[in-house]
Every structure is written in structure tokens, then in C-alpha cells.
């Protein structure tokens, strides 16, 4: 099997792919990016926490017109994963308003983004309908 690398460092690959967040030890606020401090309380200590891999679509849009080179249409969404909001595309679903809806139940899924010169695959993530 080809070597794999996650699209972003907060995606953990392996048998059970999932996202991890930096959780503030002071107030519990969660962040996906590299942190200088907590935007909520200012503390500088964080622990890594795993994020639920299932959730509910709180908002979405179907992008039909994007920057050059970005394939359209795609569905961009905000998913509530057990109380933590996550940004991601809805994948493995037709990108139209008949197949995507607010409140839809989804789960994390991975997909190959591309392969580099060394043969390493970059793996991205999205959310797919549960039972769809």
C-alpha cells in the first residue's frame, strides 16, 4: 500500500480515521489550528482531544462558482459533531438541494486527494450521509 499523509495535521489516519482538536485546559474551547493561546480565555495550555466522527449538518452551501482550478459543484458545510463544530465538505452525495439538507446525519469519511512524485497519497476528509 502507498504511503499516506493527511491533508491537514488534525486528521488522524489509520484504522479509524478521526479529527483531533487542541482543547484549552482552562475553558475547554476547541481549535483545529496551531495555537498561540486560547481565543476564549487566553490560557496557553492545550490537550489533544478526539472529535466524534458522526454529526449533524448545521449549515451548508453548494458552491457552483469558485476560484480557478477548484472543481465545482461541491457542498461545503458546518457539521455539529457532538457539540464541536467542524468545517468540511459533504461527500458521497449528489451536490444538489434534493439530496442535501439541514439537520442531515453524517459521518466522517476519507478520500484520496492526490499522489505526489514519491508515490505518497494525500488523504482528505469530508462527511457522508449516514445510511446513505
Amino acid at each position: 500500500m502507498a504511503e499516506q499523509i493527511p491533508l491537514v495535521d488534525y486528521l488522524v489516519l489509520g484504522d479509524e480515521p478521526h479529527l483531533v482538536a487542541n482543547q484549552c485546559t482552562g475553558c475547554g474551547a476547541r481549535f483545529f489550528d496551531r495555537r498561540n493561546a486560547c481565543a476564549s480565555c487566553g490560557k496557553t495550555e492545550f490537550t489533544k482531544v478526539g472529535i466524534d466522527t458522526t454529526g449533524e449538518v448545521r449549515a451548508f452551501t453548494i458552491v457552483s462558482f469558485a476560484a480557478p482550478g477548484v472543481p465545482v459543484p461541491y457542498v461545503a458545510a458546518m457539521v455539529d459533531c457532538g457539540g464541536t463544530s467542524v468545517r468540511g465538505n459533504l461527500i458521497n452525495v449528489a451536490p444538489d438541494p434534493e439530496h442535501v439538507s439541514l439537520g442531515m446525519k453524517v459521518r466522517l469519511a476519507t478520500e484520496v486527494i492526490g499522489t505526489d512524485e514519491q508515490g505518497t497519497e494525500a488523504i482528505g476528509f469530508g462527511f457522508e450521509p449516514v445510511g446513505g
Binding site: V8, D9, R34, T61, I62, F65, V70, A77, N89, T120
Partner: protein
């Protein structure tokens, strides 16, 4: 008038639209000269200048305009604050006058955006030959379009959809009807970039940009400028009766940023900072939302207008859909919103927008809005949001 009140002495906006033969300095100069003439003052009277421009923010537009209109040596604050840039320039003048550092200040905002296309969202260039993590997410490839969207029509689409998820009642058609209202309003505004009425069918059938926002439901990129002269109550008392009569009181001037909320770094939260600004502004002005005769709010997309009915407390919490469906926000309704045509038709030359909407409100309060005059308007509110985020709210009152 109390000595520490703030007043708009003069204000002007250029026609919004395509100005291929005028550069930024030309457009800004037209707005500034218009505002000075309107107030019966000159550059020599200005003690401070707040200059707003976003796309050429490093160019020092304030000094460039001084070099055309008057190098008086007063301090210039060149500001850039996304779509709240104009409101921020106005805040600079207000703060300087309020503090007593100047008794008159100039604020202007200018932008040239005709033909600019989509703003934000990363182009997808050649990818590197080996995956190399970089940036705050350790990303090995561009994430716009792979992990959600960064384009504005898509971000604001989700903001409207989230409101729908929380309270129900939204649909593609509902959002399109908001756009239908603003395009209808624009037919009475000779300064609007686009002033064609559009039917609901035309709006829904137009090019989809980011569902549910079609092209006419997005703010129109265009060129334009606006400028205002701010004066203290103490100074205004020394000016002519005619100047005093046409002066418009700045009953509230507020700028906020987005406080931390759980999801705010996932989908920008344009709600909390707008509500905070509105609360502060109503308190400063000593009025409530029901006292407003007209509102110009930041309809950068049709999906955004809906949520700001709620954020500005024009309706009950969660009641924006019913409020719109009642007809309240049409120009003949109980709370006319965006009678200028809004950003969807009047246009959105970013740096100018936060002063142009103040011009619109002031012009109604002076009774000088011509065919689109809201009769008897005494109090109005102007609101802008810059994503990132910054929110400006100004409440204006007709001179007693």
C-alpha cells in the same frame, strides 16, 4: 445641541458603478469635495482625516487625496477593516472629535472593484512535487474547496442556512424574495450601480454562485466613494443657522469585533458582534429599534440580510422569516430596510460602503431623498459587517 454631541455637517457619495476614467484619488476627491461643499467648509477646517480603502490599503490614500485637495499637515489615519472599512474611517473622525483633539474631522472611503470577480477563496495552483505540510493546519495542499469554502457567497450562504436550521422557515425562494425587494427599491435610486427591477423568477433562474445565493443575490462589485464631515456640537453652535439646520446628529457610533463563540472559527459569526453593536448603539442613542424610521443594513448577500433583521433586533429573536414575510422591510412597510437598493443593487465598493449607507440615512433625515424619500423620517440606522470580523453601527437623528 449639547457641546459634546457629534454631528454630520456635510456628506456626499459618488454614483456607484463603473468609473473607468477615474482613479481612486479622483473618486475620493469627488466625494470629499462634495462633503466639504455640502457642509460649507474647506480642507483647512478639518483637524483630522480618516481614510478608508481596502484593496490598495498600503497606498496611503489619505495623503494622496491631501496632495490633490489640500496638504494641511493634519493627522491622517489610513484604515482597512474589510467591509467595515468606511465605518471605521468614520469612527476615527468621531473619536477624534469626541475626544476634543479636533472640532471637525473628515472621513472618506473609496474603492475600485468593477470587474473584480470573486473575492477570497484560494486559486488552485500547481501542487508541490512532494507533499509538505505548511501553515496553521499543516496542510499539504490548498484547502479552499476541499475543507469547506472560503468564498464570500458560500460563507454567507451558510450563515443564512444556519439561521434556517436554528429557527426554520427559510428556503431558496425566501432568500430570493429578499433580493427581489432590494432590486425593486433600487429602481428609485439614481446613484445605484444597478437599478433594474428583477422578478423572483429572474432572480432564482440566474446563475447560481453558492446555493442559495444566485448572482443578483450577491453584492455588486463596483467603483465608488463616500465622504462625511463630522463636527462637535460646540463648534456647530458657532456656524450658520443654515449649516445647523442641515446638520444630522450622530446619536450613536459603534464598532465591535467578534467575541469568541464555539463555532466562530469554523463559520464566521456575524451575529454576536452585530447584536453587541446594536445594543451599544441603542443605549448610546437612548432609543429602541421601534423608534427607527429606516435601516440600511449590510446585505452583502441576500442570506445575510435575513439574519441582521434579528441581530439588529428589528424583530423578535428567531422571528426574521415572519418579519420579512409580513412585508415590514419593504419601503412601504413598518421598518423599511435598504431603500437604497442595498449592496445587491446599489453596489458594494467596499471601502465606501460604510459611509455611503450613512449618506443614505442622512439624506432621508434631511428630506432630500427625492423619489425614494421615506416621508417624515427622523431616526435611522446604518450597519456594516466586515468579515474577520468588524461591525459598524451608526444611528442618526434629524436636527430638532
Amino acid at each position: 445641541m449639547a457641546s459634546d454631541d457629534l454631528w454630520i455637517l456635510g456628506i456626499h457619495m459618488t454614483k456607484f458603478g463603473k468609473h473607468p476614467d477615474e482613479d481612486l484619488v479622483d473618486l475620493a476627491s469627488e466625494a470629499v469635495q462634495g462633503a466639504l461643499a455640502d457642509g460649507g467648509v474647506t480642507m483647512a477646517d478639518m483637524g483630522v482625516i480618516g481614510a478608508g480603502n481596502l484593496m490598495m490599503a498600503q497606498a496611503g490614500i489619505g495623503q494622496q487625496v491631501q496632495k490633490q485637495l489640500g496638504q494641511t499637515g493634519v493627522p491622517v489615519y489610513n484604515v482597512s477593516n474589510a467591509c467595515a472599512t468606511g465605518a471605521t474611517a468614520l469612527r476615527v473622525a468621531c473619536m477624534a472629535v469626541k475626544s476634543g483633539e479636533a472640532d471637525m474631522g473628515l472621513a472618506f472611503g473609496v474603492e475600485k472593484l468593477s470587474g473584480a470577480g470573486l473575492l477570497a477563496g484560494g486559486s488552485r495552483k500547481e501542487e508541490s512535487p512532494t507533499w509538505t505540510p505548511s501553515g496553521r493546519y499543516g496542510a499539504v495542499a490548498p484547502i479552499d474547496g476541499r475543507i469547506g469554502t472560503e468564498i464570500m457567497p458560500g460563507v454567507f450562504a451558510q450563515i443564512g442556512m444556519e439561521y434556517g436550521h436554528r429557527y426554520g422557515g427559510t428556503s431558496f425562494e425566501l432568500f430570493a424574495r429578499i433580493s427581489e425587494k432590494n432590486h425593486s427599491h433600487s429602481t428609485l435610486n439614481p446613484k445605484a450601480a444597478y437599478s433594474k427591477k428583477m422578478s423572483l423568477e429572474q432572480i432564482m433562474g440566474d446563475i447560481m454562485i453558492a446555493y442559495p445565493n444566485t448572482r443578483p443575490m450577491c453584492s455588486a462589485n463596483c467603483d465608488g466613494a463616500a465622504a462625511a464631515v463630522v463636527v462637535s456640537g460646540a463648534k456647530l453652535k458657532t456656524l450658520s443657522l443654515e449649516q445647523q439646520k442641515r446638520a444630522v446628529k450622530i446619536a450613536a457610533s459603534v464598532l465591535t469585533t467578534d467575541p469568541w463563540e464555539e463555532s466562530c472559527q469554523i463559520l464566521p459569526d456575524v451575529n454576536t458582534l452585530t447584536r453587541n453593536a446594536a445594543i451599544q448603539a441603542y443605549e448610546q442613542a437612548g432609543i429602541g429599534p421601534s423608534d427607527l424610521d429606516l435601516v440600511e443594513l449590510h446585505d452583502c448577500f441576500a442570506t445575510a440580510e435575513l439574519v441582521h433583521y434579528d441581530n439588529l433586533m428589528l424583530c423578535e429573536t428567531g422571528g426574521a422569516v415572519d418579519f420579512f414575510n409580513s412585508g415590514a422591510t419593504w419601503r412601504d412597510g413598518s421598518m423599511p430596510v435598504n431603500v437604497s437598493g442595498g449592496l445587491e443593487s446599489k453596489g458594494h465598493p467596499i471601502g465606501a460602503t460604510g459611509i455611503a449607507n450613512v449618506w443614505e440615512v442622512a439624506t432621508h433625515l434631511r428630506g432630500e431623498a427625492g423619489d425614494r424619500q421615506i416621508v417624515g423620517a427622523k431616526v435611522g440606522l446604518a450597519h456594516v459587517i466586515g468579515l474577520g470580523s468588524a461591525c459598524g453601527v451608526h444611528i442618526l437623528e434629524k436636527a430638532a
